[in-house]
């Protein structure tokens, strides 16, 4: 009824190729953007921004990045935590070395630094595949974290090895440091998320994305039809690391404010983002959003429900939270092995035919 294509005529190739060909989707997209930019900032409180929305936005960027690598290009990586650390430490070094540099450029440059590091650790992907590549990226994880915890230069020789983000402003509003307001933190993360999601969506629709997918589906066949595996794999590593670096930089500068490589960017971060991608749906932009929402917002919601509303002991709630999230992951993967994105796709198919399915 509501969700249908009938009467939605395309009269040009541009219209035919647009991201959201169905009018309802398109309107929904603009409504969500409008709400996110204009309505949410009016209502967002510190608690909501800091505990749920900002980490959700930041992890979505990381999930988008990893989705490009795993979901679109088929290269398994377990080095996400370390690449986020590269973004964080890159932004820290840039912030302290060039105090005048605007934080937006700092974050983008940190993304580029991460892209460079990602390409370097992506080189083995030209020779090894699958689980073997996962092990090679695992080496990146351990090596980079070792580097950041043992080499004083990276944390400016601070006695504890912690890095902390000084206050930086955008248009006169502090976005990092303790004085940053909920709205400004939300807005900067939202801007980065919208920009990266737009970039990811359009890259994956274009020739680069098709090359990645060709490599993912069958690399030998892709090579025969003229896809350069070197270029395709390394660009996937570069773009993916760029996104992950931005997310790491935001996580450190905007969200955490102080961080330490081993604790904030350990192997569990790699798995967290990997689970987001798998649960959300491989090879789907929406999947990155859904996966991040599930794994970031879900636990906090459960905690609020169990501890604040029901008044259960915190330790029992924490243990239950792990069990419930774990059970939900299994249920989701059994019900829909291709993730929440596939579930959403099925719903859309059904909605198109509703109320007259055949």
């Amino acid at each position: 009824m509501l969700y249908r294509e009938a009467g939605d005529f395309k009269t040009s190739y541009v219209a035919d190729n647009q991201t959201f060909p169905i009018r309802f989707d398109r309107i929904g997209y603009y409504v969500i953007l409008g709400v996110a930019f204009l309505v949410v900032p009016l209502f967002i409180t510190d608690y909501w921004a800091n505990s749920i929305v900002v980490p959700f936005l930041i992890y979505t960027i990381a999930a988008l990045g990893l989705n490009i690598l795993i979901g679109y290009c088929g290269q398994l990586s377990l080095g996400t935590g370390a690449f986020m650390a590269v973004g964080a430490y890159g932004s820290y070094k840039l912030m302290t070395a060039f105090p005048e540099l605007n934080i937006i450029f700092v974050i983008i440059l940190a993304g580029f630094i991460t892209a460079g590091v990602g390409v370097l650790f992506g080189l083995p992907s030209l020779r090894i595949k699958g689980f073997y590549l996962a092990v090679a990226t695992l080496a990146a994880q351990f090596f980079l974290i070792w580097l950041f915890t043992r080499q004083g230069w990276f944390y400016n020789y601070s006695p504890t090895g912690m890095i902390s983000a000084p206050t930086r402003e955008v248009f006169g509003y502090p976005v990092t440091g303790p004085r940053a307001s909920a709205v400004s933190m939300y807005m900067i993360c939202l801007c980065f998320l919208v920009a990266t999601a737009w970039l990811a969506r359009n890259l994956t629709r274009g020739s680069l994305g098709r090359q990645w997918m060709a490599i993912r589906d069958m690399d030998i066949a892709a090579e025969i039809i003229g896809v350069n595996p070197l270029m395709a794999k390394l660009t996937a590593f570069a773009v993916s690391s760029f996104f992950i670096g931005i997310s790491g930089a935001l996580l450190f500068t905007v969200y955490l404010g102080a961080a330490e490589a081993g604790e904030a960017f350990g192997i569990d971060k790699s798995f967290l983002v990997l689970f987001m991608v798998i649960i959300g749906g491989l090879g789907s932009i929406f999947g990155a959003f859904a996966g991040a929402a599930f794994l970031i917002v879900g636990p906090v919601m459960l905690k609020l429900l169990l501890v604040n509303t029901l008044g259960w002991p915190t330790d029992m709630a924490a243990h239950l939270e792990i069990m419930i999230i774990g059970a939900l992951i299994i249920v989701f993967l059994i019900a829909e092995p291709h993730g929440i994105a596939a579930l959403w796709r099925t719903i859309k198919e059904k909605l198109r035919l509703w109320p007259f399915p055949y």
Binding site: D46, Y47, I52, P159, A259
Partner: protein, 430 residues
């Protein structure tokens, strides 16, 4: 995106449903009863909570105002710590005690901005002793640099005043916490002529094979440990395995609790650790504790931690917080104090031996006083030794003074660097 918003509205209603109660003193507890550090987090949280319960039950609160306790699980994880902080900061928390150096570093700038006092007893950022820079952060009665200095002073007294040519290994948890004592030990190495060997153990610390291989190869005279959670029993077990003389193995006060030595059994006999307070149930306060908290079933957790080292520490932390609240009530003449008043109470806190005896904890902790520019207390600590046969910790020294002059000098340097980074002018707050 849709999901978030739905969830946001859902939980917004949840929060609105539980309004803050007026006329109570809110003492939050950022505890960790789960994760690899729960073994240390549980007894501390229990002790903290039980003491506050005792004050409520026996005295009807502080100055007639009942105490309201809340607990938030951090799992020793900094991200969860930030989440917990956000959830309680609007609820007039009188004092924060995160029991994690990592979370402390994250909360220092935030609490300064929000005006919420934080007490990091025996952990956290050492240079917070300079109250002119860290107006809202307190780390009395002792900090890491004090601890490191006390250990060296103890070793000096054991070696007739000279550590020349000795080799001391620092086995540390490779985190902000474990790296804290390195500057002090390095400085003292120059002064006393010992060789310092720093050996990091990655969190959580079950893997220590290569570290102990290195210790076996380097043959240090003493091993000093800055460990926490599962790292402690693992290290003591490894030391017992290589037959390292236990009396030459000294842990900081976070590495000296029952759960650290009991798993090792007889092998841990003779292991030493710092003690910043007394331990055991031989204090008059436990009679009241039994009567008002334990017998009435109002204890926190399972109630089986009473009297252990970390339980005592939690109780000590709560006791200092309650005394600071009393001081704040006295200064401002108001019973329902605010976080800002609490800060004044903490900055003027004075703990005397008479007061400790009056509270039922004679000789439990050192006598010290806090001032606006010195938030660090006395810095004294004792050395305790584990007796595996009797299964108890014995204090083997009296209070040992740290090299406070050197520590204050280093803390000044570090805190002024922090002030310069953040464009602050150090000054006392009144």
């Amino acid at each position: 995106m849709k999901m978030t918003r739905l969830a946001a509205t859902l939980a917004a209603t949840m929060i609105a449903a539980g309004p803050a109660l007026a006329d109570t003193l809110h003492f939050p507890s950022l505890s960790y009863r789960t994760g690899p550090f729960a073994a240390g987090g549980i007894p501390f949280a229990d002790g903290y909570s039980d003491y506050l319960t005792l004050i409520n039950e026996r005295d009807g609160g502080i100055g007639g105002v009942p105490i309201r306790q809340t607990e938030c699980e951090t799992a020793y994880n900094t991200e969860r710590g930030v989440e917990c902080y956000q959830s309680i900061r609007g609820d007039n928390p009188l004092v924060l005690q995160p029991l994690s150096t990592g979370i402390t570093y994250q909360l220092i700038p935030r609490t300064m901005e929000d005006g919420i006092p934080m007490h990091t007893m025996g952990y956290g950022r050492t240079s917070a002793v300079n109250g002119e820079v860290f107006n809202w952060t307190f780390n009395y009665p002792a900090n890491y640099w004090d601890g490191a200095s006390v250990i060296i002073n103890y070793l000096l007294s054991e070696n007739d005043g000279s550590l020349e040519g000795k080799k001391i290994a620092l086995l540390y948890h490779n985190s902000a916490y474990g790296r804290e004592p390195i500057p002090t030990l390095t400085n003292l190495a120059e002064r006393h002529g010992y060789e310092l060997l720093t050996i990091g153990v990655d969190s959580p610390g079950q893997e220590q094979g290569s570290q102990w291989l290195q210790i076996r190869r380097e043959r240090p005279d003493y091993v000093v440990m800055w460990g926490w959670g599962v790292m402690n029993p693992t290290a003591i077990q490894e030391a017992a395995n290589i037959r390292f003389p236990m009396e030459n193995f000294i842990g900081v006060w976070w590495s000296g609790s029952q759960q650290d030595v009991l798993p090792v059994g007889q092998g841990a006999h003779g292991y030493k650790a710092l003690a910043m307070h007394g331990t055991g149930t031989d204090y008059p306060i436990y009679a009241d504790m039994q009567q008002y908290v334990i017998d009435t079933g109002k204890y926190a957790g399972t109630g089986d931690e009473v009297g252990t080292v970390l339980y005592s520490r939690g109780m000590y932390a709560a006791m200092l917080a309650v005394e600071a609240a009393k001081k704040a009530q006295e200064i401002h003449g108001v019973a329902a104090i605010t976080p800002a008043m609490m800060r004044d109470g903490m900055a003027n806190l004075e703990i005397t031996e008479e007061l400790m005896a009056e509270l039922g904890l004679p000789n439990f902790g050192p006598a010290f006083s806090v001032s606006c520019n010195n938030h660090g207390g006395s810095g004294q600590a004792m050395i305790q030794q584990w007796d595996a046969n009797a299964r108890e910790w014995n204090l083997i020294t009296d209070w040992i003074d740290p090299d406070r002059e050197m520590i204050m000098e280093m803390a000044m340097e570090d805190s002024l660097a922090f002030a310069a980074e953040n464009n602050m002018t150090p000054s006392c707050m009144n």
